[in-house]
């Protein structure tokens, strides 16, 4: 379920990202367009100030202009005139013939704002009157703005507000939309999760995407049926094998105990009995593995004392006459007697037994196995270590992988591990614990199993 939420959170964040990128690209484009237009612009940059300074009047009232004025005007294809206060042209340069030589004040007012007979003009006050510089027709667009300052301000704020509002609305709509999709899709994704975990799936097949939900339900049922069939099959085999195996074990024991027959035959009887015992353990493990895998084994959890669990397992080994080639010791601190965990006592005992058996079967005579109960960051750690041959780094790597326990066989058909360890793994998981395989020093294998303590 976290995955689903994560997905939609990421989706939403990426949407915000997309909108941000969209705005940034647009801003960049706007800047590019403005720059391009500006560089294309042929707006005559007539230095009106310079021209004004170059036009002077002598004491007799004659107006003179420098040669520079003519050059500038020619370059820009413009013209200039100087009006006195009465509106009469008292000086001109390249002025079109069609233009009148005197202007009324209303005409002046008009062209200073707009155009003079279609010529865009610039005006500047000159000591002798008004300097008017005209430019080629249609070369310049003139407009005048005179508005209230507060109006401009509120307009600018309004535009900014509008952009922000738009952003907000887009975000809210996207968020709402994402939530809607999430609501429709989440049950389906949850259903798939449930199916993957092998639990029964039952989605309500109304609402959005009901068809997909219905199909998922059907697929889930199919999977369950197959799992059930597989489990029944394993259960059936392990059941049917019990009676014949009873006969094998029974008669083998008879042979083993019969002092009237040759010793060699008795030894063979013992071998048959011992191997039969292994088959017995195997089918019990197989059945339990299958039941735990499909959560069909009711866990009989109660408050138990880990040290006592370890004691019972060790005692059982010793009571059954531990093979003299192995040594089994239990190490525990004084305080560990007070620790309690929650678990199924028989399963936890089975777990420890299997790990110890694993240590014994893979090691030569004379190995010693040490079982200890420790405490580590709120978990109770059962540690089972031996001083035997141990594992290679590669093996350790595989044994610490979760996938390893789910796969029974390599591609070659070779078995990767016994049911014993698989059962151990499942029992650990059923108790919310962790298992770790490590090197023991100087040699051997150390297995630690952490099971959480009861809260409080």
């Amino acid at each position: 379920m976290d995955g689903v939420h994560g997905f939609f959170r990421k989706y939403f964040l990426s949407t915000i990202g997309i909108i941000l990128i969209f705005f940034m690209v647009n801003t960049a484009l706007l800047v590019v367009v403005l720059l391009a237009a500006w560089s294309q612009s042929t707006e005559p940059e007539i230095p009106i100030q310079t021209i004004g300074e170059q036009i002077t009047a002598d004491e007799e009232g004659n107006i003179h202009s420098s040669h520079e004025v003519a050059t500038i005007l020619q370059q820009n294809e413009g013209w200039a005139m100087l009006l006195d206060d009465a509106g009469k042209v008292i000086w001109q340069q390249d002025m079109p013939k069609s233009l009148p030589r005197s202007y009324t004040s209303s005409q002046i007012a008009s062209f200073s704002r707009w155009y003079l007979e279609g010529y865009p003009v610039l005006v500047q006050v000159h000591p002798r009157g008004l300097l008017v510089i005209g430019m080629e027709k249609d070369s310049l667009i003139k407009y005048n703005i005179s508005t209230d300052k507060t109006y401009i301000m509120s307009l600018l704020i309004g535009i900014a507000g509008m952009v922000l509002m738009n952003l907000g609305v887009i975000l809210v709509l996207f968020w709402y939309h994402t939530r809607k999709i999430e609501k429709a899709v989440a049950p389906i994704l949850e259903g798939i999760d449930t199916m993957v975990e092998g639990r029964p799936i039952n989605l309500k097949d109304h609402g959005e995407l009901s068809e997909i939900k219905e199909k998922l339900n059907i697929a889930g049922r199919h999977l369950r049926q197959k799992e059930k069939a597989r489990q029944d099959w394993i259960h059936g085999i392990s059941h049917d094998i019990r009676t014949p195996l009873s006969l094998i074990l029974g008669y083998a024991s008879e042979i083993e105990d019969d002092v009237s027959i040759p010793e060699e035959t008795q030894t063979q009887g013992k071998m048959i009995r011992a191997q039969g015992g292994k088959i017995k353990a195997l089918i019990t493990d197989l059945n339990l593995v299958s039941r735990l895998e499909y959560s069909m084994h009711p866990l009989n959890k109660k408050r138990i004392y880990p040290l006592e669990t370890a004691r019972r397992v060790a005692s059982e080994f010793l009571n059954q006459g531990l093979d003299t080639k192995y040594e089994l010791t239990l190490e525990a601190s004084e305080e560990s007697a007070a620790w309690a965990i929650e678990g199924d006592p028989s399963l936890l005992e089975r777990m420890l037994t299997n790990v110890i058996l694993n240590c014994m079967t893979h090691n030569p005579k004379g190995s010693s196995v040490v079982v200890s109960v420790q405490k580590n960051h709120g978990t109770c750690v059962f540690s089972i270590s031996d001083n035997g041959v141990g594992m290679t780094d590669k093996q350790l790597f595989f044994y610490n992988q979760e996938e390893f326990y789910k796969k029974r066989y390599r591609a070659t058909g070779e078995s990767t591990h016994g049911f014993g360890l698989r059962l151990v793994y499942q029992i650990v998981k059923a108790h919310g614990g962790e298992i770790c395989f490590e090197h023991n020093h100087p040699h051997g294998l150390a297995v630690s199993i952490g099971i959480p303590f009861i809260e409080g």
Binding site: R242, T243, L245, S253, N300, R311
Partner: protein, 232 residues
């Protein structure tokens, strides 16, 4: 009556296994062994003459083992041991709920079956005096009296409970937890020191030198073990 003279009824539909079971008990010394291969046959035999103990398979043609058990329980409290291939917890619970005294899942080792049957018989038909013979003393389990050399002392209630548990598992390790459990119930944590006191008191009664015990020995870190020379 001697243990081996008790009559046993074995109900099992697999004839090969039935033959093996009969052989196992015959070899162990049991003299009165009857067999049945169906539920109906078993019920008929139970009604005609009540056996001292029944070994019952679950999967039987006709009426099954659980039904037979139910019917037997209506007329008697004789010990019944279920011997079955059905080993799931549900099946075992069902068996015990119907009144089975023990439940052994196939495949089994003959020795285990014999020991369980023996224990059931002993519990159901206590001998005149159940005695446990130790290195330096003998304990009468019915009177909780300990005879050491010429003196006789009695075990207290708690001591007796603990001793009985040890005697039932004679020559085997009994864990500290298991002993605490019989003495004070399932929540026994914190009882360990009291248990040690009880063990010391038992030793004072059954050992000549309690500080170096030879009968009730400590198995370091695990629990205790009662070394029995002979039990009846």
């Amino acid at each position: 009556m001697v243990l081996y003279e008790r009559s046993i009824l074995i109900v099992e539909d697999e004839l090969e296994l039935l033959r093996l079971l009969r052989a196992i008990f015959a070899k162990a010394g049991y003299t009165q062994i009857n067999t049945a291969s169906s539920g109906e046959e078993a019920m008929a035999m139970v009604r005609s003459r009540l056996p001292d103990l029944v070994i019952l398979d679950v999967m039987l043609p006709g009426i099954d083992g659980f039904e037979v058990l139910e019917q037997v329980r209506k007329i008697s409290k004789i010990p019944v041991l279920m011997l079955t291939a059905k080993g799931e917890p549900e099946d075992r619970f069902a068996g015990f709920e119907l009144g089975a005294d023990d439940y052994l899942v196939k495949p089994f080792l003959p020795k285990e079956l014999l020991l369980r049957v023996q224990a059931l018989l002993k519990r159901a038909y206590p001998e005149e005096s159940r005695r446990v013979l130790l290195e330096h003393a003998s304990v009468n389990l019915d009177t909780a009296e300990v005879k050491r050399q010429k003196e006789t002392v009695a075990l207290t209630d708690k001591e007796y409970t603990i001793f009985l548990k040890l005697a039932e598992n004679a020559n085997c390790i009994v864990t500290i937890g298991a002993l605490c459990e019989v003495a004070c119930g399932e929540i026994w944590q914190g009882y360990e020191n009291t248990l040690m006191t009880h063990i010391r008191h038992i030793r004072e009664k059954i050992e000549i030198n309690p500080s170096s015990p030879v009968s009730l020995v400590t198995v370091k870190g695990l629990g205790y073990k009662l070394l029995v020379k002979e039990a009846s």
